[in-house]
């Protein structure tokens, strides 16, 4: 299960589109496939071979490794966010699965009836992954919004999630409908007017995906 470099990027793009369209289950499986493929890949095809033509030049190899690391990080991001949006109904720490069983494991990556412990484990993995991905300068609205989504799943961290999303919303830096959906959920019951306003923004941003993204959680 090793995808070519271009297939990897395309599958990852597909995973990101699925995630944005509210299909977190499909996104998780696609991203998991990419993630493992990158783990197994020796290196992506690049030009810049040395004079003998036998091995990539140092520069090409560095570029290939940088690209691989970046794609891997994106796949991990999709998995983590999908885990949060599925409320933990996935297997966690997927990269620890034994190589021989990965293909099978992809099919069983989604849990139809997770236990509380399984949910908690998945959500904790996702929060840890998203915490690790936060840039040192906290400068990336997409990462911040995803992080806030994960924080919002933990009662102890809901205030922090609200603060992060409120700051983004005030600066008109909310990256997507999901961020507004989470904000609306966090405000519900404490400031219903602001919650309704955030929900309206969610529907506006989500466009045709509004019914999947912006409906109230039970």
């Amino acid at each position: 299960m090793v995808l070519s470099g271009d297939e990897t990027a395309q599958t990852l793009s597909q995973a990101e589109r699925q995630l944005a369209a509210g299909r977190a289950d499909r996104a998780f499986v696609s991203a998991l496939t990419v993630f493992w493929s990158l783990e197994e890949a020796v290196g992506l095809t690049e030009d810049g071979y040395d004079e003998s033509g036998d091995r990539p030049s140092e520069r090409a190899e560095q570029r290939s490794n940088r690209r691989k690391a970046a794609l891997s990080a994106r796949a991990k991001l999709v998995m983590a966010v999908a885990m949060v949006r599925l409320n933990g109904a996935t297997t966690f720490e997927p990269h620890h699965a034994p190589r021989v069983s990965r293909l099978r494991a992809v099919r069983h990556a989604l849990l139809s009836s997770p236990t509380d412990a399984e949910r908690q484990a998945s959500l904790t993995w996702a929060l840890t992954a998203l915490t690790d991905m936060q840039p040192a300068d906290g400068d990336d609205p997409v990462q911040m919004a995803h992080y806030a989504e994960a924080l919002a799943r933990f009662p102890d961290h809901r205030a922090q999630a609200l603060q992060l999303l409120h700051d983004l919303a005030t600066r008109d830096l909310m990256p997507d409908a999901w961020a507004y959906h989470t904000l609306a959920e966090l405000l519900r019951g404490t400031d219903d007017t602001a919650s309704a306003e955030a929900a309206a923004h969610c529907r506006e941003r989500a466009g045709r995906h509004a019914s999947r993204i912006c409906s109230e959680s039970p």
């Binding site: 271009d6 030009d47 810049g48 690209r67 970046a70 300068d137 008109d172």
Partner: protein, 418 residues
Amino acid sequence: MTGSAARLLALVALCTLAACGSHDASPSQPSESLAASAPARGDVDRGRALVALFQCNRCHEGGPLAAVPRAEHCVSCHRAILDGDHGVTAGLDVSAETWTRWRERLVGLDVAPSFVAVSRLEPSWVESFLRDPQDVRPQLHAMMPRLRLDDAQARDIAAFLALGGDATPSLRVTQRQITRGRALLESKACGGCHVFSGVLPLPTRPPAPTSTSVEQARALRLAPDLWLTRDRWAAGRVVEWLMQPRRLKPDTLMPDTHLSRDEATAITAYLFLAERGARTRPTIPARLPLLQRPVGFDEVNERVFRGECWHCHSDPSYAGGVGGPGNTGGFGFKGRGIDLSSYEGVNSGYRDAQGRRHSLFERDAEGVPRLVAVLRARQAEQAGQPVPGILGMPLGFPARSAEDIQRVESWIAQGRPR
């Protein structure tokens, strides 16, 4: 007073043709002196460093520029796509399907003037061109981008690029030569490639085939508007150029039309002394009203962002950590962290000079969102009215149409739906 205006005033010294050394010369013909080349004024070492800083070698090549890998060179990469050279050899890692898709979408930038013999150009013109880029080559889709450089930097770069250029003496020409020069431009079919704005249009008979059709097409796109010749060159150098273009610039696509010195001098006389009107510039299109129909991100993305925007404002993870000049930095620009390659990226704003993020949709005093303001600023730049403090986008490419900007404004007004 501009350099060219001063030169024109200075050259109106009349003399008898006996001293001019041309067979067109006769005692009854007055002549005019076309100025010699002028020396550069800037600091060569600083210019060298600035050329590296502004990454001139990512579009141009040759001459004093250091080479960069093909995958980092805009023109070479585009050329590889258009010529059917597969991605792997261009330093990219893409499938044949992706390659084909790129090829279908690619509009231009498969050719840019090389820096071989760049010292042939007048430093004063290079300076002014860097500060206020004009559309030198009307048939080339891209043009020199407006970079953030000051007068001193432009002067230093011009000095570096002038390095190794020979001084060219002044040239005397007659009225008869001007008339003959026009006839020669027509008979040699120069209008097949060049336009000469501001004069009676040159006949557009295509040039005789001299090379492959791909090369001809590229030569056509590189052909400058002859209106600019008297500003870009010293007259004496134009004569040498017209007689043997490849001797002056070995990689030029300009064909050798086997002109004698007299013929080359006559054409030069016309290029420098023909009465020319002002170059026409596009007008700023009227702002269109907001669309009433729904406008989603897919439409705006397809029609606008996926055009030129992506190239400079992309997701770094697709290209080894390089997000383009408008994201991670380049062409002398600091990284502003703008990612226009995805819905989330567009909504994530930009970093100001202090590193603080702002929305791309912040409104100015007139209520215009910043993203729309930069698109409109490009229209203004093309009309010769650059907007102070705003760099028009797309940088170095034609302005987006009024209809495209209307789409963007309508999408914003509708709440930026995905």
